[in-house]
Amino acid sequence: MKSDVKLFENGKRLDKRKIDELRKIKIEVGVLHRAEGSCYLEWGGNKVICAVYGPREAIPRHTQNPLKAIINAKYNMAAFSVEDRKRPGPDRRSREISKVISEAIEKVVLTEKFPRASIDVNIEILEAEAGTRCAGLTAAGVALADAGIPMKDIPVACAAGKIEDQIVLDLGKEEDNYGNADLPIAISPRTNEILLLQMDGHLTVKEFDKALDLAIKGCHDVSKIQQKALIEKYSKKMEA
């Protein structure tokens, strides 16, 4: 999307970040009372809350898999989360995001331990500012761990993109609107396996490689924040 909006000023991004710098991230573990596991996450201007329920019997019966649990992730944006109020209810975009997030999580959860069950992951975007699916999946990873769901790894997501021919990490709002490419990914940080990958825009193969590397590095940085939040929360319980 060509436009007159300048995304670089004196070599710096609009919000003064370096090209490989993440926005500020804050993670709180176990914030909801009813959910088995939960997480509140702020990422730049994004405010996300995630709750995990289950494993519990999958209903309706016909959705049950006799060999393993199904992951039912639902991504939803609150009506007041965006500049122009969004009508409540899932739209096609939300349903697609729910699907790719479910698939990413399925790869790392030890689903064979719970045949016929479903693990419900509810991601609610309370305030949106570019990169909500990455924020949502990152929060989901923490909530799943908080719920005691057995996993091979805690999934984490981050995006890279191209603005004015420069590959940058973690696109902000204007960069997402006026940039040339957006590449959100999710990985299993222990093995670097890619669990989610979407791309829109225009990238040469070289640019893609650069963006992928940068996004993976970003994922690892975010993963450290997830781990720290979880260990701190549970270690506190030991100091009585």
Binding site: P115, A147, G148, I149
Partner: protein, 222 residues
């Protein structure tokens, strides 16, 4: 006696190698490496690495004693909620009464509590429970407390040490279900003491010397 290291570990954390130790509960193995699969407390002894889960739902095992809440009476069985991912089936053949076809409601109705035992868990995690055992019956009075199933071992204590102390000083009858449900009956003060004590154990389950602390606290309030 090796004092266990109380370190919190998270899923995917590398704990050791299969060539040195056996992979125990709460772990998974990949390429000869042992990793944690849930958030929990690391437990390494001379030949095994275990992770004691700090959270998580109740995963029924054959032989477990549980407290169930009846959900639905059917023609010759009842569906019972035992706080597991799946409802458990109680068949009329597994109760001490002679139940005619379609008369299940006469004996157990929605909301009734029972002390039961897990009879069978099949590959698809279909669960069957039984009331046919001398300690099992329908609960009539008393109070139900719910805690996270992962805390049950702490409430019971090593060789029953914790639960014996609670019973001794409160003079209450207590039945601890493996599924995180605890039944208490006794005089009002005793029941309140039990409820408060369990709340404290739940909160401070990871701290050292908890058994002594609880014994001291209960002695003082005598």
């Amino acid at each position: 006696m090796s004092e266990e290291k109380r370190e919190v570990v998270i899923p995917s954390q590398l704990l050791g190698k299969t060539k040195d130790k056996k992979a125990g509960k709460g772990t998974f193995v990949e390429n000869g490496n042992i990793y944690a699969e849930t958030i929990g407390v690391l437990n390494i002894n001379s030949n095994q690495i275990n992770v004691t889960a700090l959270k998580g739902i109740y995963d029924p095992v054959k032989g477990d004693f549980v407290i169930g809440i009846v959900d639905e009476p059917m023609s010759s069985s009842w569906l019972v909620d035992i706080n597991a991912p799946y409802p458990a089936l109680l068949h009329v053949n597994e109760v001490p009464w002679d139940v005619e076809f379609n008369e299940t409601e006469k004996y157990l109705n929605k909301g009734d509590c029972i002390m039961a035992k897990v009879l069978q868990v099949d590959l698809e995690k279909k669960l069957n429970i039984t009331l046919k055992d001398r300690n099992l019956y329908k609960i009539k009075n008393g109070h139900l407390i719910e805690i996270s199933p992962s805390k049950v071992p702490r409430i019971i204590g090593k060789k029953g040490s914790m639960i014996s102390i609670i019973k001794k000083y409160t003079k209450c009858r207590i039945f601890v279900g493996q599924n995180g449900r605890i039944w208490v009956d006794g005089d009002k003060e005793g029941v309140e003491k039990v409820i408060d004590t369990i709340k404290i154990i739940d909160k401070e389950s990871l701290s050292y010397g908890l058994t002594n602390k609880i014994e001291k606290m209960l002695k003082e309030v005598q």
